[in-house]
Amino acid sequence: MSDGFNFTIKDYEGSFKPTWCPGCGNFSQWRAIRQALIELELPPEEVVAVSGIGCSSHMPNFLNVYGLQTVHGRGIPVATGIRLANPHLTVLVYGGDGDVYGIGGNHFLHACRRNVDIITVVSNNFVYGLTTGQASATTPVGTITRTTPRGSIENPLNPITVAISAGATFVARAFSGDLKHLSYVIKEAIDHRGFAFVDVFSPCITFNKNQTFNYFRERVYKLEDADHDKEDYFAALDLSNQRFIKDKLPIGIFYQIEHKTTYEERDFSLNQGIIPAQADLELTDEQIDAITKEFY
C-alpha cells in the first residue's frame, strides 16, 4: 500500500448498519467489496455503488461511498450513465438474481456486449428473498417455493454461460462462504478493464433450504487451483456448464480477456478525454456555426 492512502475497512462503512438476516451471505460481500476497494486504493469519493431492489440491493445503504439505489432491475443502465458521464469513477453495480437476471435481464445482456467499464456483482441465492421466497431465474427445476408449490417447472438460467456468450470480458463466480477468495475475485473484477461480472453463490438462510452454505462447501472448487486458461473462450463455456455434468461447482475467474477495447475507448467523446459531467457548458462560436450551418 502506498503512502498517503490510509483508509481502513471502517472508512467505507456507512452510518446505517446492515439489516440482513443474521448469517446472510450478503455480509461477506459487504466485507469483500470494502476489502477490494482498500487493496486497490480507491478512495470513497471516487466510488459509486449502484443497486436495484431486493435484499442484496440494500448494499449501497451500508457503504460510505456515493450510493445510489434505483428501482427493480435498473442498476446497470443507471450505472452505465454514471460511468459515461464521468469515466474516472469506479462504478459498481450490486444486485440479486431476481434483480439482474430476472427483471433486469435485458440490461445485463447489453452490458456484457457493450463492454462499458463497470462491475456487476450478483448475490445469487436462487430465490426471491425480500418478497418472502418465490422462484427466481436461477431456481433449479423441481424446487418448491411459494410460487412453485408443486416444484419449479422452468429451466434455470446459467448466468456464467450467458455472460460469456453475450461478450463479457470478465466473467467470474465466487462463494460467500469463502471471504478470502471472494475478496480476491471482486478485486480482480474492479481492476479489470471493461465490463466485469461476478456471480456470487450467496445462500439465503431464511427462504432457501436447498442451496445452503453446506451445499456449496461440498461442491465448490477453485479454478485458480485447477489447470484453467481463463483466456480460452470454449474452455470457459465448457466449465460454465459443469454443474450439470459432475455436480462440481467451479468458482473463480472463468473468462477474462484484456485485449478487447472498452466502450469508453471506442466512444468519440470519451476517447478524447472529455468528462461530460465536468465539461464547459458554454458553446464556442465555432461550435455554434458547425451545428447550425445546415439550417441556413
Partner: protein, 582 residues
C-alpha cells in the same frame, strides 16, 4: 399578388419526398419568405402515399394551409389516390410520360401542367434523380422566384459533390424554367426582387435539440421511436463537435436510466421518446422525482393507444404524463407550440430541471416535431451557470437538507467529503432509507411528512418563475379559444379569418401545464362568453384538465383524432356553429 402560396408534393416512400420538400423549403427560405412545411406519411419504407406540403408567405405562416396552389404528382400510383384531395383551381404538375391524368378522370376545374421530365433529363444526364430539379425549374418560373438565389441553394446542396454535379443541376433547373416559359404555364406569383435572407429552416425536434445544447446538454439517451428519433439523429451527427454523449440504448428503460445516471453524476441530461416509450420510462421518472435528480424527458405524442398510428399526430398523452409514475412528486410539464418555441423550451427545461432538481417533461407532438419552419434568429450563446452543486463540502454531507424552497444542495460523485446515499425509498435528511427498518416508527412519521412537503414545495417556486399564460385579443370577444401545444398557430390563423368575417374572438394559450397558473386562468375563463377548447384527441383532455384545475367547464369543443392536424377551416366553422347556436 396573392400573399401566400401552397405547394404540395405527392409521392410514395422512396421518392425522396423529404429531401424534395426540404430542398424546396430552402429555396423559398433563401428568398426571405416565411416557410412552414409538414409531411403526411405512413409507416412504410417503400411505396405508399405521402404528401409534403409547404406554404410560403411574406407574412407570418401559421399553418401549412389547406388548398394547394400547385400540386406535384410524383408517380402514377399516387396520382390515382390523390384525386379526392385535389382542390378547384389547383395547378397540377406531372410527368406526362409517366402519368395520364385523363385515365383517372380528374375534375375539369383544375389546371393540368404536363412536363416530359424523363426526356428533358435525358438530354442532360443519365441521372434520373435530376428530374426533380427540372421540376423545380418549372415551379420557380411560375412562382416568379429568383434563379440566382435558387442556384445558391443548389450549390449549397451539391457543392461538395463537385463542380460538374453543380453545373448539371443548374442546367436541369434552367431547362425546367425554359419549358414552363415556352409552354406558357400560368403565373402564380409575379416576378419581383427578393432580398437574400439569413434565416434558419428547422424542424421542431431540431430546434428543441438546439435549445438543449445551448443550455449545456451533455448527455442524451434514447431508443428509436417516431416521432422523437430525429432528436437522436441530429445530436449524434454533431456530437464530435460538442463533446457530448449520445447513446442509443437497448430499450426506453435503459434510455431514461442512463440519462438519470448521467444527471446524478453532474452532466446536464435528457431523454426522449413517444407515448409507448414513455410508458416504459414511467417507473424511473418517479425515481428521479423522489431522488431529486434533474431530468428532462421529451414525449413527442403520436396517435395511440399502443402502436396506434405511428406516423400520425395527436395530443392525447396529457394525462399520461401528468399522472406518470406512482405516488406524488413535483413534475414540470411544458408544451411548446412551434419550432422557435421548442428551442426556448429546450433551454428552459434543462435549467428548471437543474435549478429545482426535478423532472421536466416536454410535451411535443408529431405535427410540431416534424414541421419545418423558418426562424429569423436564435441566440445560442449562453453562460450556463450551474445550480445547487456543492463542490467543497467540509464534513459529512447532508444531501436532503430541508430548505425553504425545497431544493437541497447536492454533491456529485468525485467530490471529496460529498459521499451520501440516494435511494428510491423515502429517507431522512442524511439520505438514510426509512423503508427498511424505520418506516412507521413514531419518530419517522414527521420525517416522511416533511420530505413529501419539501419536494412538492418546489412547484410553488417554479410557478413563480414561469410566465403567465398568453391571452390574445379583446377581453369582450364573443368567442374564446383555449389551446395548448401545437394547435396555437392554427387557431391564431382562424381568428384572423373570423375577424375578416366580422367575428371577434380571443385566445387563451396554455404552454405551462404543470405547475398551473390556476388563479390567472380561472380569472380569465370566468369573464369569457363562449369558450371553445381545441385539441387533438377524442376525450377532451384539456377540457377535463381545466375543469379539474379551475372548476370551470368550457362551452364547446373542437376535437380531432384522425391523426391529421386540425385545420383553420375546422376552427372557423366551429366558431360560426357555436355563435349560431346562441
Amino acid at each position: 399578388m396573392k400573399k401566400d402560396v401552397v405547394v404540395r408534393f405527392v409521392g410514395s416512400a422512396g421518392d425522396g419526398l423529404v429531401s424534395l420538400g426540404t430542398l424546396f423549403g430552402r429555396i423559398l427560405k433563401k428568398h426571405n419568405l416565411n416557410v412552414l412545411g409538414f409531411r403526411s406519411y405512413q409507416s412504410v419504407i417503400r411505396g405508399g402515399y405521402n404528401t409534403y406540403q409547404i406554404r410560403a408567405s411574406q407574412d407570418e405562416v401559421l399553418s401549412v394551409g389547406e388548398e394547394a396552389d400547385i400540386i406535384v404528382l410524383l408517380n402514377k400510383h399516387v396520382a390515382k389516390l390523390h384525386k379526392p384531395a385535389v382542390n378547384k383551381g389547383a395547378k397540377i404538375i406531372y410527368d406526362s410520360e409517366v402519368i395520364d391524368l385523363d385515365e383517372f378522370e380528374y375534375p375539369s376545374d383544375i389546371v393540368k401542367l404536363e412536363i416530359p421530365l424523363a426526356s428533358i433529363t435525358k438530354e442532360i444526364s443519365k441521372l434520373k434523380i435530376l428530374k426533380n430539379i427540372v421540376g423545380f425549374g418549372a415551379i420557380i418560373q411560375i412562382l416568379g422566384l429568383d434563379e440566382t438565389l435558387t442556384k445558391e441553394v443548389i450549390f449549397e446542396q451539391f457543392g461538395r459533390k463537385g463542380e460538374e454535379v453543380v453545373f448539371t443541376n443548374y442546367e436541369a433547373l434552367e431547362k425546367g424554367e425554359k419549358f414552363a416559359q415556352e409552354n406558357n404555364w400560368p403565373i402564380v406569383w409575379e416576378k419581383h426582387k427578393y432580398e437574400k435572407a439569413q434565416q434558419m429552416l428547422i424542424s421542431g425536434n431540431e430546434a428543441l435539440a438546439l435549445g438543449m445544447i445551448s443550455a449545456g446538454l451533455k448527455f442524451y439517451s434514447g431508443y428509436p421511436m417516431t416521432p422523437a428519433t430525429s432528436i437522436v439523429h441530429y445530436l449524434t451527427k454533431h456530437l464530435p463537435k460538442l463533446g457530448m454523449i449520445v447513446k442509443q440504448t437497448e430499450d426506453e428503460l435503459a434510455a431514461v436510466g442512463m440519462a438519470i445516471g448521467a444527471a446524478y453524476t453532474g452532466a446536464r441530461s435528457a431523454t426522449g421518446t413517444s407515448g409507448g416509450g414513455f410508458s416504459l420510462m414511467t417507473e424511473l421518472i418517479g425515481m428521479a422525482g423522489i431522488e431529486e435528480i434533474p431530468l428532462v424527458v421529451i414525449n413527442s405524442q403520436r396517435a395511440g393507444p399502443s402502436t396506434g398510428m405511428a406516423t400520425k399526430t395527436a395530443q392525447a398523452d396529457l394525462f399520461q404524463v401528468y399522472g406518470a409514475s406512482q405516488g406524488e412528486f413535483p413534475k414540470v410539464i411544458i408544451a411548446p407550440c412551434s419550432p422557435e418555441e421548442s428551442f426556448l423550451v429546450g433551454i428552459e427545461a434543462i435549467e428548471i430541471a437543474e435549478k429545482y432538481q426535478v423532472v421536466v417533461i416536454i410535451l411535443m407532438d408529431l405535427y410540431l416535431s416534424e414541421q419545418i419552419a423558418t426562424i429569423k434568429d436564435l441566440e445560442l450563446k449562453r453562460k450556463n451557470t450551474r445550480f445547487g452543486i456543492e463542490s467543497n463540502p467540509k464534513s459529512k454531507f447532508v444531501r436532503y437538507k430541508i430548505t425553504k424552497n425545497g431544493v437541497s444542495p447536492r454533491t456529485i460523485p468525485g467530490t471529496l467529503n460529498g459521499m451520501h446515499f440516494t435511494g428510491s425509498s423515502e429517507r431522512n435528511e442524511e439520505g438514510t432509507s426509512l423503508a427498511s427498518t424505520l418506516a412507521g416508527l413514531p419518530d419517522t412519521l414527521p420525517i416522511r411528512e416533511a420530505m413529501v412537503e419539501k419536494r412538492m414545495r418546489k412547484l410553488d417556486f417554479v410557478l413563480k418563475e414561469l410566465p403567465e399564460p398568453e391571452f390574445f385579443g379583446p377581453a369582450n370577444a364573443e368567442i374564446t379559444f383555449v389551446t395548448w401545444g401545437s394547435t396555437k398557430n392554427i387557431v391564431k390563423e382562424a381568428i384572423l379569418e373570423l375577424k375578416s368575417d366580422g367575428i371577434e374572438a380571443n385566445h387563451l394559450h396554455l404552454k405551462y401545464l404543470n405547475p398551473f397558473h390556476t388563479e390567472r386562468v380561472t380569472n380569465l375563463l370566468e369573464k369569457t362568453s363562449k369558450t371553445i377548447c381545441v385539441e387533438q384527441n377524442f376525450t377532451g383532455q384539456m377540457s377535463d384538465y381545466l375543469r379539474m384545475k379551475t372548476g370551470i367547464s368550457v362551452d364547446a369543443y373542437l376535437r380531432r383524432w384522425d391523426g391529421e392536424p386540425i385545420t383553420t377551416t375546422q376552427v372557423v366553422e366551429k366558431a360560426k356553429e357555436v355563435i349560431g347556436n346562441e
